[in-house]
């Protein structure tokens, strides 16, 4: 399993990855990117599912249920909003629009 230092390396490398991805982004994409990263931390849903999957007492079940509910909202809402924003990126010059580039 993950021992302390291995996890530390993952934390560090993931942080650098996030930093590098965003470092040279045009302003036009700030809002969609914020929304997109908002979707990606919707992965919290997975954790909430695990928590609910291991809950025993009614109290734990209730907390887990709320967690899954919120996590699912984060993931689904984040996806829909981001997709709607990105749907709109078009160009007047053919060949530059989002549709042509895969």
């Amino acid at each position: 399993m993950l021992d302390g230092f291995l996890a530390l390396y993952i934390f560090m490398l993931a942080a650098f990855t996030g930093y590098e991805i965003i470092a040279r982004v045009p302003v036009i994409l700030h809002t969609p990117l914020m929304s997109g990263s908002n979707f990606i931390h919707g992965i919290v849903l997975v954790g909430a599912m695990i928590a609910l999957g291991h809950a025993h007492t009614p109290f734990e079940l209730a907390i887990g249920f709320i967690g899954v509910l919120l996590g699912a909202g984060n993931a689904a809402g984040g996806y829909v909003v981001t997709e709607r924003m990105l749907e709109m990126f078009k160009s007047s010059k053919p060949g530059q629009g989002g549709k042509e580039s895969k």
Partner: protein, 470 residues
């Protein structure tokens, strides 16, 4: 039905890879649309794999909760207007923070030990416990803070809420949350302590967000977005889930950088946003008096001015979006283009409620993004611009930001529309902007005020242009 752990580990790995590649694609306009789809597949894969983990119970309950959450969010996300996007991002982000806090809470509750014996917790390592508590703290703050941000942007709450000694109260509440967190992390886990910890953490999120003005809200939402990412990563460590650690940490770092970029675009530091009282300076210090008067103009005259101009720059602001005028404005711009006028749209980095928000709204109306120009590129062009049209923008074109050191927006980079030969300002009334600051532009000699709702004014301009053509 369950899958072997190794298959699930592979699924998580692929999901993490898809998240990173998706985010990378989202950082360029040409590949952005594919990016969210990639990340979406990653999410689907991770969720299905989790459901098939070997030792999972309550699967029916899990599926029910997922379905309810997904349906509600999908429905609300589909039907909300594009102008309301920022608060929806805040809302969904808050939900993620709340989910992270719930994971922390369920871990803590599962490890409650009788108050009497202070044995350290068996199943959780001290590091996992500490990170779990920290994640719960950050997630709770993100949850309640984002909820307040949502309520403010939605117009359910007054824009600012201040009382004397606020900073001290906030600090005390934070100290209480951190103190209780340290006690919990040291292994003294009792139910009252857990409850007290979460109350303090949630309260701090509320108190921290209440005094922040609406203009600064995008920075705050972005900050909470980064917070939620961190909280997810920490809870991922507690659950030994690498996908959560990687995705959470990537978002935590990316979100922090985005927050800095946004704050920089507004010429504010993050500390200033969180702890400085925006607008208080304007009422305290005597702002420079602005002489002159606002000179009104009729739609017919404005249309003629633009129809015979060579270069027209349209400066849209949030007011245009509120009036849902972007479609009419684009129709109007198309008529001008058909007459041979060179039309550009100039966007201030913080136009709208978030950086890039205005680009999204214009794109929605069908404006091609190569007609949309950033501030640095358009400012040198204003002196050769015949008519600059300001629609629903205010603070971002206020020359006071350059001339009056006592103004709260002093130093903020602005669009130099006053350099254009003529300026037409479309505005609902004579009031001040979002930051509540008087705008010297409206009193300038070359500025003409075209009063009215953005949508109806744009409609009038369209019909006036059509009569010119006829």
């Amino acid at each position: 039905m369950a899958l072997p752990q190794s298959v699930i580990d592979v699924c998580y790995f692929i999901a993490a890879l898809l998240f990173i590649l998706g985010l990378k694609r989202m950082s360029s306009p040409r590949t952005a649309r594919g990016g969210i789809v990639w990340a979406g597949f990653g999410m689907l894969l991770a969720v299905v794999a989790t459901l098939l983990l070997p030792d999972m119970h309550n699967r029916g309950l899990i599926i029910a909760a997922v379905l309810i959450g997904v349906t509600a969010a999908w429905w609300s996300g589909r039907r909300v207007a594009m102008t309301a996007m920022p608060q929806m991002v805040a809302l969904y982000n808050g939900m993620g923070g709340g989910a992270a806090a719930a994971i922390g809470a369920s871990e803590l509750v599962a490890h409650v030990v009788p108050a009497m014996d202070a044995v350290t917790v068996g199943a959780l390592s001290p590091v996992a416990l500490a990170l779990g508590v920290l994640g719960a703290l950050i997630g709770s703050v993100s949850f309640s803070g984002s909820s307040i941000a949502f309520a403010k942007l939605q117009g359910w709450l007054d824009r600012r809420f201040v009382f004397p000694g606020q900073q001290v109260v906030n600090l005390l509440v934070l100290a209480a949350a951190v103190g209780l967190g340290i006690v919990l992390a040291s292994g003294h886990i009792t139910l009252p302590l857990v409850v007290g910890f979460f109350i303090a953490a949630l309260l701090f999120g509320i108190l921290m967000t209440l005094p922040i003005g609406g203009a600064d809200m995008p920075v705050v939402i972005s900050l909470y977005n980064a917070f939620t990412g961190l909280a997810v990563a920490f809870e991922g460590y507690v659950l030994q889930n690498e996908a959560m650690i990687i995705a959470g940490m990537v978002v935590g770092a990316a979100g922090t950088l985005l927050t800095q970029l946004m704050a920089k675009a507004m010429n504010r530091s993050i500390g200033n946003v969180l702890f400085g009282s925006f607008g208080a300076a304007a009422t305290g210090a005597a702002a420079q008096a602005i002489g002159g008067s606002q000179k009104p103009v009729e739609a017919a005259d404005a249309a003629v001015m633009m129809a015979y101009a060579e270069r027209v720059v349209i400066v849209p602001g949030y007011g245009m979006a509120v009036a849902q005028a972007q479609h009419k404005v684009w129709e109007f711009a198309q008529l001008l283009i058909a007459r041979g006028v060179k039309v550009k749209f100039a966007i201030h980095p913080v136009a709208g409620r978030m950086p890039g928000h205005m680009n999204v709204l214009l794109a929605e109306a069908g404006v091609p993004y190569d007609l949309i120009v950033d501030m640095e590129d358009i400012n040198p062009e204003f002196p050769v611009t015949d008519v600059a049209v300001v629609i629903g923008a205010n603070d971002v074109v206020n020359p006071v930001a350059k001339t009056d050191p006592s103004s709260p927006i002093y130093g903020m980079p602005i669009l130099d529309v006053a350099d254009a030969r003529q300026v037409i300002v479309v505005k609902r009334g004579k009031g001040t902007g979002f930051a509540g600051i008087e705008n010297a532009l409206f009193y300038a000699d070359n500025a003409r005020m075209l009063y009215g709702d953005g949508q109806s004014v744009a409609g009038q301009l369209v019909s006036q242009l059509k009569t010119l053509d006829a």
